[in-house]
């Protein structure tokens, strides 16, 4: 039984006026068939999500893990669990990246099944400071980098850079995945970008720390070399640009890995590494000490009193109807995310298909923009207005995305929908305040843009397991395509039966259904992870606190030229 502990709420807070916004009290979940079926579906989806997470978290499988441990190594996750503070949460990112086997038949080959894309990334607290941790999983293809490994590594660095998080690299990698070097090596956002980012973050004063716990070959050798401080574990760690086989091939010199680039060599002779440790535990303790001595104190934790929501966040998954065509009130969601379910709604009676307003999340002020139907001109203008308010005040924005698109049709277009959509897209694109996006339902077409899709650089973007993402819905796409096809056929004087049309639509529908799944998206790093709806408040709260490390200065946004 959920009981919000309201009694401890301190109304005479020291930090300014308390938020006395109206309580969304009329959004109790009613017993109904719709709710029951939504609840059941959500239960199934969450169970599936957790099963899949559990599977990929096993890394390269039992025998690979056994072999790994026999070398006196911890797994990537064990290293992280030991590194972060006792009891610290770990906000793992893109756990399901590289997970093709369920979502993509054509890539169902072993080669393309890289649990967690062979790298574990996420944010945890180390010595009281939030850090981005990037840990190679050597049980997956020797920790080598293929396209998605690189993408995931770069995304972690991007998050670190945007949110000013010190980076800890736990290196145990064979470097680039040679069979697919063309997907890994040459492009702008390929392997080289990792070191580019390290150099530039270091230049911005964002610490770069490496713990070398295994091999670190070729390009990989630059991770420790480019780091501000580097720790090497005796026995297991090696750092070299060319490994013994390459050296032999190139010069004929026969040398062991240890002699070429072991911890002793680099800590006593070459100076590539700064700390020599006997084992991983000592290495982890050393990294913790490095973080503790950065002279980079976490901003005072700024912990304020807050109310739990009036309704349990556990109910979040039971709200969205199983039939996406059935409407529901997005305030049901907002009431289960914001502190005390208090919501200062802005323009409640105008442009009602979008809900905007202010609230608090774990005591921190946020603006909410949530879809409550398709976007009309008015709703776009309302949202654009609200983004301006938030930027003026330095208030972060949370987008609750569930959008089929903008209202089409003659009236809309003639009314200037594209112009009004432009305003929203421009406002969102240029908004300088932290933006967080959570896709709770559909994410289609230009709606995705206006509601801060991936291309609009939200600091974090999460999806619910039921979420769908594609340029348009499968039905619309197949109708559009079949209409074109029918027109073509009829132009050539041919006829097209109803059956033939269905036959034509079927693969399109299947393809769209397949490619719009949250797993398809997450596998490709179009988001930062699929989360259990019940965790939304927690995940958004943690992400918000990270995001607020930068960009909350009021009135800093330059919006450019609005077309009016």
């Amino acid at each position: 039984e959920y009981e919000p502990p309201r009694n401890s709420y301190n109304h005479s807070r020291q930090d300014g006026f308390p938020l006395e916004a109206p309580i969304l009290s009329n959004y109790k979940l009613q017993d109904s068939e719709q709710v029951t079926s939504a609840k059941n579906l959500n239960k199934k989806l969450v169970q599936q999500l957790h099963e899949r997470i559990a599977i990929v978290q096993k890394g390269g499988g039992t025998s690979a893990v056994q072999k790994h441990k026999a070398r006196n190594k911890m797994t990537a996750r064990e290293r992280i669990d030991t590194l972060i503070d006792f009891g610290s949460p770990f906000l793992e990112l893109s756990t399901l990246a590289g997970m093709y086997s369920w979502s993509d038949d054509e890539f169902k080959s072993d080669e393309m099944n890289w649990p967690c894309a062979g790298i574990v990334t996420g944010i945890g607290e180390v010595a009281g400071r939030k850090c981005m941790i990037v840990a190679n999983d050597a049980t997956v293809k020797g920790g080598t980098y293929h396209a998605l490994t690189v993408k995931k590594h770069l995304r972690a660095q991007e998050i670190a850079m945007e949110n000013k998080l010190p980076c800890i690299y736990i290196v145990d990698s064979g470097g680039a995945y040679l069979p697919r070097q063309s997907e890994v090596f040459p492009d702008k956002d390929h392997f080289g970008r990792i070191f580019y980012n390290q150099a530039n973050m270091s230049a911005q004063g964002i610490p770069q720390i490496a713990l070398v716990a295994g091999s670190c070959t070729a390009g990989g050798a630059y991770v420790p070399a480019m780091s501000d401080e580097t720790v090497m574990v005796a026995g297991n760690a090696t750092v070299f640009l060319g490994g013994p086989p390459l050296v032999k091939a190139a010069t004929g010199e026969v040398v062991t890995a240890e002699e070429l680039g072991g911890a002793e060599v680099h800590c006593t002779t070459s100076g590539v590494s700064d700390y020599y440790v006997e084992d991983e535990i000592e290495g982890i303790a050393t990294v913790r000490n490095i973080i503790a001595t950065l002279n980079l104190d976490e901003k005072s934790k700024d912990e304020r009193d807050y109310e739990e929501p009036l309704f349990s966040p556990e109910e979040l998954g039971s709200i969205i109807p199983t039939d996406p065509k059935q409407p529901f009130d997005v305030r049901m969601i907002i009431a289960r995310i914001l502190d005390g379910s208090r919501f200062q709604e802005y323009k409640a009676k105008y442009g009602t298909t979008i809900v905007t307003g202010f609230g608090e999340l774990y005591g921190k002020k946020v603006g909410i923009i949530a879809n409550n139907g398709i976007l009309f001109s008015e709703s776009s203008l309302k949202a654009s207005n609200f983004v301006q308010l938030c930027c003026q005040r330095g208030t972060p924005i949370i987008f609750l995305q569930n959008i089929t698109g903008f209202m089409v049709g003659k009236r809309s277009e003639n009314n200037g929908l594209a112009k009004h959509g432009q305003a929203m897209v421009r406002a969102v694109a240029t908004a300088n305040v932290p933006k967080l996006t959570m896709i709770i339902g559909g994410s289609y077409g230009a709606g995705n843009y206006g509601m801060c899709g991936r291309a609009y650089s939200p600091r974090f973007l999460y999806m619910w397991p039921n979420a769908k993402i594609s340029v348009m819905g499968g039905e619309q796409a197949s109708s559009v395509l079949s209409t074109i096809q029918r027109d073509n056929l009829e132009r050539m004087g041919e006829t097209w039966t109803e059956e033939q049309e269905q036959e034509f639509k079927k693969p399109i529908l299947e393809k769209y259904s397949h490619e719009s799944s949250a797993y398809f998206s997450s596998a490709r790093l179009w988001d930062d992870g699929i989360i259990n709806p019940a965790d939304s408040r927690r995940v958004l709260g943690m992400s918000l606190e990270v995001a607020m490390r930068s960009g909350c200065e009021p009135n800093e946004t330059q919006f450019g030229v609005f077309r009016m």
Partner: protein
């Protein structure tokens, strides 16, 4: 000295030196202060001037230049020098160290300083077992029956043996170390044992002469406290029973001896006075007797006399309401005994004393050294007190040093009868807080709570032989206690005081949140006896801990909520219902890599005493095992020349044992001396240079090898 008796009654001396350390030095200084006497303390380098006794005294001086007793407290001339230089009138030797050294006593007197204790002759006489026994026999004090004669005819010896009674001991006159000794239980075994004893003695010592001595089975150890002044007065302050012993180490002492007929007590007392008078003894002394428990005759035999204040003197003080140190000071100053009439010596209620040691009852009472992070008795220390009293020389934060016996303190209680005293002892022991080193308190509680100990007069020196299993301290705490300790350790690791849900940032909930589930943290319980497979698995949900205690076979889940307040008071709710209050302490032993947690129940009916559980520190476990087992790295084993230079000195040779940080080689380079020290302990397996060698940078000058004896050293 007669003139000194005219001194003011309340101040026997102006200034005294206390030639001791620890609790007894503090004890003596306390009385001296009360009487307005200035005190001079001495301290070794190990104790230092911040040790409690040095701080309590008006003046304190370092004695000698080393930490060990031989280099400090036993340096008689240095002690006397300090006394002379600082104008003290008398020296109190306490117990141990120079207290029973007749040479010191006479040197003190020769220096014109009063020795607070008996004369040197009495010390010398009582110091020799055989001499004291003869003196006592002459004074008609019963000694252990035996035959020490020259007639070695087996039949005659048998005749003597029958006179002495069985069981008896046949001892080779020249024997020692257990060789040439036979315990004979029955008459018909005597001749055979005699023959084998003689054979062994002939082979071992080339002599077949034997003596016979009565063997007392599990006697009681009863001792009488006497006091005698220089005016010929002597009284006894009743007796103490110190029968509860472990390998001749007294554990719990009490006064008066329980269940002893009044006539017998009187007889022992009067016999003691007889003995004291026979040797013109002055000041405090204790005559130890063995009381035969096998006969109902109340036969007791002189064992030895201690010519000093005893460790266990406080139990006598509590039943007589006298300050024995004051008596000693007054006697030494030439005053008459404060109470000269034997019948006026009070004997009120019962008192017990438990000696608290830093030793590990789970590891065969191995003495422990190290820092006592926290020391808090049931009452404030060193205040005297007539109900519960703690005498100690130790404060929180001080070390138990390897150089002295590991006594932490003495806990003394008084009750109107023996049972009240015993229950008070158990309660006080349960409240006693020591953290940082293990103590024998759990063992003391088990002894005091044992039904045989509870029975008056039932304790004899065989108690611990008979009931060893009953009082054995094992590590198996109740699972919920382990779980509470795990919660304390977890709170410490998390750097907070409370498991209660606190409104805080989602980052600060300490719940190990992960996608999908909360991470289960594991803390390994370190068992003192053997490597433990026990784990505390900790999950956190909504502010409370869900802790599972156990190993692969059996585990018990317990839910815990708790708050630790600033005064270490911890309120715990178990499984949402059961509320308990503890005092909780946690200490991170950084070097050893574990967290020690101690709990003391604040429920007075809970007499389990301190719960002590140690957990491996998750970030230090491996390093501990590394230094212990896996030897060293190649890096630490080599000593390389840091720059070109000339070898100027070698402090060790090949094959020598070296300790971590020992300077092995000294070289000269760039007009500077550079000392090359070892980075580990081990054997210097090779030395590749000699004095005068010019070496280059990076030359391996010495190599250290693994020290195979290290583990055995540790075990010893």
């Amino acid at each position: 000295k007669a003139s000194m008796s005219t001194l003011k009654r309340d101040k026997p001396f102006e200034k005294i030196l206390v030639a001791n350390r620890g609790e007894i030095a503090c004890r003596i200084i306390r009385t001296a202060k009360r009487l307005g006497i200035k005190t001079v303390a001495i301290y070794s380098t190990a104790d230092g001037n911040s040790s409690l006794h040095a701080k309590m005294a008006d003046e304190a001086y370092q004695v000698g230049h080393g930490p060990s007793p031989m280099e400090s407290y036993l340096l008689q001339n240095d002690v006397l020098d300090i006394a002379k230089r600082n104008g003290v009138q008398a020296i109190h030797p306490g117990y141990g160290f120079v207290s029973e050294n007749s040479g010191f006593a006479s040197a003190t007197e020769s220096a014109g300083i009063t020795f607070i204790g008996p004369g040197p002759e009495a010390i010398l006489a009582m110091g020799s077992k055989s001499h004291s026994k003869r003196l006592m026999e002459d004074a008609n004090v019963p000694t252990t029956p035996g035959y020490h004669g020259l007639n070695q005819n087996p039949e005659y010896l048998l005749h003597e043996a029958v006179n002495i009674g069985f069981p008896l001991l046949i001892k080779a006159t020249m024997g020692g170390g257990g060789k040439g000794m036979r315990l004979v239980w029955k008459e018909n075994e005597f001749l055979e044992s005699l023959e084998s004893c003689k054979r062994e003695s002939q082979a071992a010592f080339g002599d077949t002469n034997v003596i016979l001595e009565k063997y007392l089975i599990h006697p009681r150890h009863i001792e009488v406290q006497i006091m005698a002044d220089t005016h010929g007065n002597a009284v006894y302050l009743h007796e103490r029973d110190c029968s509860l012993q472990r390998r001749h180490q007294k554990i719990i002492e009490e006064a008066p001896a329980s269940d002893l007929p009044n006539e017998l007590r009187k007889m022992m007392g009067e016999t003691s006075i007889q003995a004291v008078k026979a040797i013109d003894y002055v000041n405090a002394g204790t005559i130890e007797y063995l009381l035969d428990t096998q006969s109902d005759n109340g036969d007791f035999y002189f064992c030895e006399m201690n010519t000093r204040l005893q460790v266990e003197h406080p139990v006598t003080e509590l039943i007589t309401q006298q300050d024995l140190v004051e008596w000693q000071l007054r006697i030494a100053a030439g005053e008459e005994l404060p109470i000269k009439d034997q019948s006026l010596i009070p004997c009120l209620g019962n008192a017990m004393e438990a000696r608290i040691y830093a030793e590990n009852p789970m590891k065969n009472f191995l003495p422990v050294t190290g820092k006592v992070w926290h020391h808090k008795g049931p009452v404030d220390s060193n205040l005297g007190g007539s109900d519960v009293r703690v005498d100690t020389g130790l404060e929180s934060g001080r070390d138990i040093s390897v150089y002295y016996d590991p006594m932490v303190s003495k806990l003394i209680v008084h009750g109107k009868d023996r049972e009240e005293a015993r229950l008070k002892l158990i309660e006080s022991l349960s409240k006693y807080q020591i953290a940082g080193v293990p103590s024998n308190i759990p063992f003391l509680i088990k002894c005091a709570a044992h039904p045989v100990f509870a029975r008056a007069g039932a304790i004899n020196t065989g108690f611990l032989e008979h009931y060893a299993e009953d009082v054995k301290v094992d590590a198996s705490n109740l699972p919920e206690l382990n779980a509470i300790c795990a919660a304390v350790a977890s709170l410490r690791l998390e750097g907070r005081d409370s498991t209660l849900p606190k409104k805080c940032s989602p980052w600060s909930k300490h719940d190990s949140w992960r996608l999908g589930s909360n991470h289960e943290r594991k803390l390994k319980i370190i068992d003192d006896v053997e490597a433990s497979s026990s784990l505390a698995k900790i999950k956190c949900k909504d502010g409370s801990y869900n802790i599972t205690i156990g190993d692969e076979k059996r585990s018990i889940p317990i839910e815990i909520e708790g708050v630790i307040e600033s005064d270490d008071k911890m309120t715990v709710t178990l499984n949402g219902t059961e509320k308990r209050i503890y005092t909780a302490k946690s200490i991170f032993h950084e070097k050893e890599g574990y967290i020690e947690v101690l709990l003391w129940s604040s429920d007075s009916s809970d007499s389990t005493g301190a719960i002590r559980v140690c957990f491996e520190h998750p970030l230090h476990e491996k390093r501990v095992s590394n230094t212990l087992h896996s030897g060293m790295s190649h890096l630490n084993s080599q000593l390389k020349s840091p720059m070109p230079g000339k070898i100027t000195r070698l402090n060790f040779s090949e094959g020598d044992m070296v300790k971590d940080s020992d300077v092995i080689i000294v070289m000269e380079a760039m007009k500077m001396e550079h000392a090359l020290s070892s980075k580990m302990s081990g054997v210097l397996s090779s030395l590749n240079c000699k004095v005068g060698d010019i070496v280059s940078e990076g030359d391996v000058l010495a190599v250290l090898g693994d020290d195979d004896t290290k583990m055995t050293d540790k075990a010893a």
